[in-house]
Amino acid sequence: MMFVNLDNIGFSYTEGKPVVSGVSFGLKKGETLAVVGASGCGKSTLLRIISGILPQSPHNYLSGKLTVDGQTSDKYRRSGKLAFMFQEPTLMPNLTVRQNIAFPLKIKGMNNNQKVDDLVDAVGLTAFAGYYPSRLSGGMKTRVSLARSFVTDPELLFLDEPFAALDIAWKSRLYRELEKLLEVHNSTVIFVTHDVQEALLLSDDVLVFNSGGGIKSKYKIENEKSISERVNDISGYMSEVYSEYMLPIQDAIMNGDDV
């Protein structure tokens, strides 16, 4: 059985043009899925639908069937097994690095200093644990956000263009950190990105969205290399996957109007 299963999902904010339409796919536990497509094609909305953030208003309209671990998305969200990393780091400005990472635990009324310390170390911010976000660089904030996403040991992790604002050096570092965290926590990941190279570096599967909010094409990345292996030899890896995945995916995005 698929861990995440979408069957003909459609969504609109009001009675009007749907933002997402006819989306169907399944994701096994422990897999990483990348969702790519042109701007405004509904990728982030899809993440919010699966995570249960949407629908939020009675005016929103959701159709189709969606299950996560056999439950509705809302029920799964309440189980506390998912985490969401936003495009902006979304740190609490009044909390330190350490406190921000521990924040989801605090919401649950839990305390696990060891785990928080481990995560601070994992993202290389031990020396900055007492700093407030205003003193952090963009990359550091992203690392805090990443570490926070793992503090509750999520089964399912959503990443909404998490590394978009970073340069390639930072991205490479964070890809390796993400891999380490995934090794420890074994989360299933769905992430949205504009960066096709990033999609190919991090994921097992890639979905290409069209401008109508539906799936244009799906790709299963048949490559046994780990993330760090891919990252350590980016040019080598990219040349391996260039013709089979990179080109068609880019082409599909460029011609996103065609279904």
Binding site: I53, Q56, I107, S134
Partner: protein, 245 residues
């Protein structure tokens, strides 16, 4: 920095000298604004009663400010539990700020007499709106991502209010409190204008009616001092509780 302060001191001294000169040699000026030395002498001679009046006005302003703060927080918490209330109430509150609430002072005197309660009520009414409106504005500027983050982790409303809404709105709340600090003093004084047993407002009223410029100046200085004290206290609280946002 030193240059700026030197300039301020120089300017202050020059103004005082001018005031002393005209206050000493021009009867009309003396009768209208007295002179520094006359005012100082008056203050020294009547320090007891002046400070007593100042204490009354200070109590009215502080208690009014505290009541307004508690009340506005309570209304805001109610709005968190029933979001529809905020949507309905906030535009009304913003619009009501154009009403000169000062006109309510005589009404409070009639309702509550000339004791402290009418002054405290006036001060509280003046303070409530800026605190509430600022708090509400601060809340509405919390990013939607933070709301989503709280939703993802199913944060209970009490947690959100205590750990997110209040702290993240603190900057706006403090801004509202700083505005209200001076409004509290104004409210208390204007209410005293309309009728009081004791207070700086009553002093100002009588000093105008009875042509006692020294009383006016002394009361004015004390009223300004009270304003500074309240504003300064809020600022200290802001610095102590605020984080580098």
């Amino acid at each position: 920095m030193m240059k700026k302060w030197t300039l301020y001191i120089f300017l202050g001294a020059a103004l005082l000298a001018l005031w002393q000169y005209f206050g000493s040699f021009n009867q009309t000026v003396r009768l209208l604004v007295s002179s520094p030395t006359l005012s100082m002498n008056y203050f020294v001679e009547n320090a007891g009663s002046l400070l007593h009046a100042a204490q009354t006005t200070l109590i009215e302003a502080v208690v009014g400010l505290i009541i307004a703060t508690i009340f506005s927080f309570a209304v805001m918490i109610l709005c968190f539990y029933k979001p529809g209330i905020l949507e309905f109430v906030l535009p009304l509150m913003v619009t009501s700020q154009v009403i000169p609430l000062i006109v309510l002072a005589p009404f409070f005197i009639i309702l509550m007499g000339i004791g402290l309660s009418s002054k405290i009520t006036m001060a509280a009414v003046m303070c409530f709106f800026p605190i509430f409106v600022n708090f509400a504005q601060g809340y509405t500027t919390i990013s939607s991502n933070i709301h989503e983050l709280l939703y993802i982790y199913d944060a209970p409303l009490s947690f959100r209010i205590k750990s997110v809404y209040f702290p993240l709105s603190m900057g706006s709340i403090m801004a509202g409190l700083k505005i209200s600090a001076t409004l509290a003093v104004i409210g208390a004084i204007v209410a005293e204008f309309n009728g009081a047993e004791l207070g700086l407002g009553k002093n100002l009223y009588l000093s105008a009616k009875r042509l006692e410029p020294e009383l006016m100046i002394s009361s004015l200085v004390l009223a300004t001092l009270i304003g500074f004290i309240l504003f300064g206290t809020i600022r200290i609280i802001e610095l102590r509780t605020g984080r580098k946002l």
